[in-house]
């Protein structure tokens, strides 16, 4: 008995535990080292550079000058034009995320509840097939479909439901929804598939109707998938460039295109950097908030 107590005392020795923890962390660092090097060189440092450039000034010809540090570029963010663009991008990203969720959830649920795993795998492959071809190519394909003589426009005109869609906001929505839906479906599928269906049966057994069981059990338990999918759709939607550039028109300019213009035609690197940094901060806050709210189930 005393021997056992002695043994247990040694086992809970905090010093030893701490040492073991440190050792573990050291080993972990070693395995993650290549990734760290890569991320620091190609992600962290460029990001810091962007941030630094946002406080720089530009010469008369437009070349960025790393001197005369100022907040001018940041102040311009509140310019109505920029704020308007940012606002449009934000609600477009929010609406696109909601649309993806609305369409993606039933679909992911349907896949996850197929009995045979071979059926589930086949359906997942179908979701992934679009990724086998280039995003740009696929977006141009939509352009063909949405153009005056394209199938979608022709169908809309024949039925009188809609006219030409290309270069309008609906076209941008169609493109974004098409492009990011798989990013919603996959994490949702993973979360729903993991749900223990005994829990749903238990809810039904405890007097919950089908919809109550869904609302109280299935939906809360698929929350990790909802959070992950929303983040995966929201972030690229907010910064979307290719889709609005190809499918949108002059009235659908989004913040992503605007940033490109600043670094390109407008030759205003500091301002482009400031807009980029601002978006980054907004995304970071949104993501942290979103993770926190769903964090317990993640």
């Amino acid at each position: 008995m005393t021997q056992l107590a002695e043994y247990e005392k040694v086992e809970v020795n905090p010093e030893l535990e701490e040492k073991a923890e440190k050792e573990k962390a050291r080993r972990g660092l070693f395995t993650a080292l290549p990734a760290y090097v890569y991320l620091i060189a190609f992600f962290a440092i460029p990001l810091v550079l962007v941030f630094v450039f946002s406080f720089a000034s530009r010469s008369r010809t437009g070349t960025p000058v790393l001197a005369d540090w100022n907040l001018e570029s940041w102040a311009r963010l509140f310019d109505p034009l920029v704020a308007g663009l940012a606002w449009r991008s934000l609600w477009l990203a929010v609406v696109n995320t909601l649309l993806c969720l609305l369409i993606g959830y039933p679909f992911a649920y349907w896949i996850a509840t197929r009995q045979r795993s071979s059926t589930r795998n086949l359906l997942l492959v179908l979701v992934l097939i679009p990724f086998w071809s280039n995003f740009l190519v696929r977006t141009y394909a939509w352009r063909t479909l949405l153009d005056v003589d394209g199938f979608v426009t022709q169908f809309g005109e024949a039925t009188g439901l809609w006219g030409q869609l290309l270069f309008t906001l609906p076209a941008v929505f169609i493109g974004l929804l098409y492009g990011y839906l798989p990013f919603m479906v996959l994490p949702l599928f993973a979360a729903i598939e993991r749900i223990d269906w005994n829990l749903v049966e238990a809810a039904r057994d405890l007097y919950a109707s089908g919809s109550d069981a869904f609302r109280r059990v299935t939906l809360p338990l698929s929350r990790p998938g909802i959070v992950a999918g929303s983040i995966l759709v929201f972030i690229p939607s907010l910064g979307a460039y290719v889709t609005p550039d190809i499918l949108g028109g002059p009235n659908t300019t989004l913040i992503g295109e605007y940033i490109v213009t600043q670094f390109g035609a407008a030759r205003n690197w500091p301002f482009g950097a400031a807009v980029s940094s601002a978006i980054l901060i907004v995304m970071l806050i949104a993501t942290i908030y979103y993770f926190r709210s769903g964090g317990r189930t993640l």
Partner: protein, 356 residues
């Protein structure tokens, strides 16, 4: 008097074309009874329970609860609750919310929920644990929450699907008695599914033994153990010896080794039977011991002795088969060794002649 708690009439459940999970079961379970469905895994006992719960619907036949035809009524509209094998506690809810789920779903609100939930938590001796997350509980505690979550709704029938299966032996034995106490306290019908014959014998008023979708025998624990209806039941419940033989006269069987013994027979002279004799019903004696006239004897030779701690098992070769004999390990009881000639004796009442 009143209608039985559960009536199954000619209930069959098929999955697909070929699998018959439950095969034409007829069963009546009385109000307030502790009834166990006992059988090996895959025998259809869980499917039967699920059909009562409404989680499956019978392919044929009818399920009635207190006389009311259930048909394809969904589980939320049946006056029964289930304790699931895996407990199925909601991981995103506290103990309190788990237990309160059924009450809230049936529209009960406010202080009544609090009162009844706390009462149920107290009944399963988890007072003070309400705020814990269901994931912070040990297996035994989860089991109690699952029980409270079902009982709080005061169902007319409580269905339990191997609720103690995941617990270790000591805890399981303690919970068996506790469950029985709780059942007597709340006075509702318990239908208990298990593959553990000891558990079924300990807790049940009546047992239904199932195999391959069929209900083989229904009766009180003692009847199932003492007079099994067939070989399967005899073998599944406890240990037993089978000795082939032939009925020579009512109450008399000639065994395969030529010995003539008395037994409980139910068939005509001339029919082939299998005698079932439980190891603890046999005595083991020195050769040429005078066996009392009301008992039967069998001669044999000790083949092996197995030490069980609380008992000794002797494998005795009686010529055609090897018979197990159990002797309690008490001081002064003579021990036999391999190769010893012995005489076994038993009371004819302990020998049941089975025809199937």
């Amino acid at each position: 008097m009143s209608a039985p708690a559960v009536t199954l009439s000619n209930v069959t459940k098929r999955f697909g074309e070929e699998v018959v999970a439950v095969d034409e079961i007829d069963l009546e379970i009385g109000d307030g009874e502790f009834f166990s469905l006992l059988g090996p895994s895959g025998c259809g006992k869980t499917t039967t329970l699920r059909m009562i719960a409404g989680l499956e619907f019978p392919t044929e036949g009818s399920v009635r609860i207190f006389g009311e035809e259930m048909g394809i009524r969904p589980p939320n509209k049946r006056p029964v609750n289930t304790v699931f094998q895996s407990y199925a506690l909601f991981p995103h809810m506290s103990v309190f919310d788990n237990v309160a789920f059924g009450l809230r779903m049936s529209g009960i609100e406010g202080s009544e929920v609090d009162r009844r939930v706390n009462e149920a938590i107290e009944l399963v001796r988890l007072s003070g644990m309400g705020k814990r997350s269901s994931r912070q509980l040990s297996g035994g505690q989860q089991q109690r929450v699952a029980l409270a979550r079902a009982l709080v709704n005061r169902p007319k029938v409580l269905l339990l699907d191997e609720p103690l299966g995941a617990l270790d032996l000591k805890l399981r034995q303690a919970m068996q008695l506790e469950l029985k106490d709780i059942q007597q306290e709340v006075g509702i019908t318990f239908i208990y599914v298990t593959h553990d014959q000891q558990e079924a014998l300990t807790m049940s008023d009546r047992i239904g033994v199932m195999s391959r979708g069929k209900l083989l025998q229904v009766g009180p624990s003692e009847e199932i153990y003492e007079s099994p209806a067939n070989r399967f039941v005899a073998e599944f419940i406890g240990e037993t010896n089978f000795i082939e033989g032939e009925v020579t006269a009512p109450g008399e069987v000639k065994l395969s080794n030529g010995t003539l013994v008395k037994a409980r027979t139910h068939s005509e002279p001339g029919s082939a039977v299998t005698l079932t004799l439980r190891p603890e019903k046999l005595n083991i004696n020195a050769p040429d011991t005078a066996v009392p006239p009301d008992r039967c004897s069998l001669e044999g030779k000790v083949h092996r002795r197995i030490y069980y701690g609380d008992a000794l098992f002797y494998e005795v070769d009686i010529g055609t088969v090897v018979v197990d004999v159990m002797v309690e390990n008490r001081p002064g009881v003579p021990r036999w060794s391999e190769g010893d000639e012995v005489v076994l004796d038993f009371h004819p009442e302990a020998a049941e002649a089975l025809t199937e």
